[in-house]
């Protein structure tokens, strides 16, 4: 994210760097630092999840049983596949195969859109089941107040994650456009790598969200 604009105008070395190696090292490190801030951003939500799961154990179990297990599982697979195509896009540009890079980026975008569509279907299901927190929320089982909080955290966490997927689609599209314009080559492809890092991070967050939200109460429901 950070460096796509950084390199937009220029193929060659930016004036303030001594050489390409310094430039690409700085760019990848900058991206990692940015991802660390993302870890801490999601960390705040994981903290809320953890504290309340500890306090309202039963409600968390209950809430989890109302997740759409199959959509969650399929979405996990979708994101893993998109990570594969993303890393293959990076590999292709490293080898200078620009056309293959474009294809792989396009497939990644398709997977990302599929993820969001499935997420939308899932949200719609929750809406119909009166599981949206707020005045329309209705829950018949034990401890409805804290089950509602489970749903608050569910929507906040998956909502922020979906926002990141959306931003990811924008970034991958930008990279795709730049690649079509011939911006990248074997020698210069930092932006592709950085968007790749960002995309894998989005996958990484989901890898934890999946068990924490979908699996903790599943055996009771299943």
């Amino acid at each position: 994210m950070s460096d796509s604009s950084e390199a937009l105008a220029t193929h060659e070395l930016r004036h303030h760097f001594e050489n390409m190696e310094q430039q690409s090292g700085a760019s990848s490190m900058g991206m990692w630092v940015f991802l660390v801030t993302e870890i801490m951003f999601f960390g705040g939500m994981f903290m809320a999840y953890l504290a309340y799961r500890y306090e309202y154990f039963v409600a968390w179990q209950e809430g989890s049983q109302h997740m759409d297990f199959w959509i969650g599982t399929v979405n996990t697979a979708v994101l893993i596949c998109s990570s594969l195509t993303m890393v293959l896009a990076v590999l292709a540009i490293q080898q200078g195969r620009r056309r293959l890079t474009s294809i792989m980026l396009s497939v990644t975008i398709c997977f990302a859109i599929a993820f969001l569509v499935l997420k939308g279907i899932e949200y719609h299901g929750h809406w119909l089941a009166h599981e949206f927190p707020g005045s329309s929320f209705h829950f018949a089982g034990i401890d409805p107040r804290h089950v509602e909080m489970f749903f608050v955290l569910y929507f906040v966490m998956t909502g922020f994650h979906a926002l990141h997927v959306l931003i990811g689609i924008g970034l991958v599209s930008t990279i795709l456009y730049m690649n079509q314009r011939g911006h990248f080559s074997t020698d210069y492809h930092n932006p592709v790598e950085n968007v790749g890092l960002y995309w894998h991070f989005v996958d990484l967050v989901w890898i934890y969200l999946y068990p924490l939200l979908y699996l903790i109460g599943h055996h009771h429901a299943g």
């Binding site: 309202y56 154990f57 039963v58 409600a59 089982g141 034990i142 401890d143 409805p144 107040r145 804290h146």
Partner: protein, 331 residues
């Protein structure tokens, strides 16, 4: 002295004397070090003024000195830490048999309720030389119960009980402040603590028009709400028998154990499904919105007063017939 220029707050409780000792110790130690640094900076600045010295003497540093001025402060800090922690632990551990007073804070007043039924607003009368324990909650935002003369402060939280205890040693009238910013009239949420001689206190108690003890108010409410139809005083009820439960560990349905303290009783009334006692079903309705904070406190006081002759130890309260048929509506 100077009535409008105090430099030391009044010492009116045991906690105040304890704390003052630590405070003076801290003041002496930190004061000495601070003055030492001031003197060193001043002396160096004067002694090594640029026109008195031809050339600075290069010194790189000294590991021995660095170690010393890391380890010595560390040792001193350990004393501060342990002393402070011990005081804190004492302040947070109310003695048994303390006289209990219930506090409900709201924007922007203090409501105080004695076990015998007297209610007060923004003023609390307590006897000298008695352990007094406050059980506090808020019905809106976070407040903080602060009595400078006792050197005590505790935030008062909505949705939970916090406690505070003191042992007053000097009769008099002392400030009660709200110390946690709580909205527009925060600075108006002040009151006073009146510490009285036992004789005066008895006189005050008999003068106040209490409407029966807090526990008896709670008992009435308990009957009004129909709690007794399930929480019977034998083992046949659909809910646990509450006699002698208070203060004991309770085995929960999911295998965990909690202590039946004020917060557990409160949670079980407002949010019965959260921690169900082992052997019982989740059939009790929530009383969220049905009882207010003061009524809740009276229920807590009532349940606390039910000190029956149950054997101590882990109270399981399991009914004689496990999972008694109980699907009809509770209440």
């Amino acid at each position: 002295m100077f009535p409008n220029f105090p430099i030391w707050p009044v010492r009116a409780a045991v906690s105040a004397s304890n704390l003052d000792a630590l405070f003076i110790f801290l003041l002496l130690v930190t004061g000495t070090v601070t003055i030492m640094i001031f003197i060193l900076v001043t002396v160096f600045a004067l002694r090594y003024r640029h026109d008195l010295v031809d050339k600075a003497t290069p010194i790189l540093g000294s590991t021995a000195l660095e170690t010393t001025w890391s380890l010595v402060p560390f040792g001193i800090f350990l004393i501060f830490f342990v002393w402070g922690a011990v005081l804190y632990f004492q302040e947070r551990t109310p003695p048994r048999n303390a006289m209990e007073i219930y506090v409900v804070a709201k924007q922007w007043m203090w409501k105080l309720q004695h076990v015998d039924g007297q209610r007060e607003i923004n003023e609390l009368h307590v006897p000298v030389d008695r352990d007094v324990k406050l059980i506090m909650t808020s019905q809106d935002v976070i407040h903080s119960f602060f009595v400078p003369a006792f050197r005590l402060k505790q935030d008062v939280l909505p949705g939970r009980y916090t406690t505070l205890w003191f042992h007053a040693i000097r009769p008099g009238t002392y400030h009660l402040f709200c110390a946690e910013y709580c909205g527009t009239q925060h600075s108006g949420m002040i009151g006073s603590i009146v510490v009285m001689n036992p004789v005066d206190y008895e006189a005050w108690l008999s003068g106040g028009g209490g409407e029966g003890s807090l526990a008896s108010t709670g008992q009435k409410l308990f009957q009004q709400l129909g709690c007794g139809s399930c929480h019977r005083s034998d083992t046949q009820g659909r809910g646990p028998n509450l006699v002698g439960v208070f203060g004991k560990p309770v085995l929960l349905e999911d295998g965990r154990t909690v202590t039946a303290d004020e917060n557990y009783v409160r949670e079980s009334i407002l949010n019965p499904g959260a921690k169900i006692a082992a052997g019982f079903k989740n059939i009790m309705p929530s009383f969220q919105g049905v009882v207010n904070e003061e009524q809740l406190l009276s229920l807590v006081a009532y349940i606390k007063s039910l000190q029956g002759s149950q054997p101590s130890g882990l109270v399981s309260n399991r009914p004689a017939v496990p999972n008694a048929p109980a699907q009809s509506k509770a209440k």
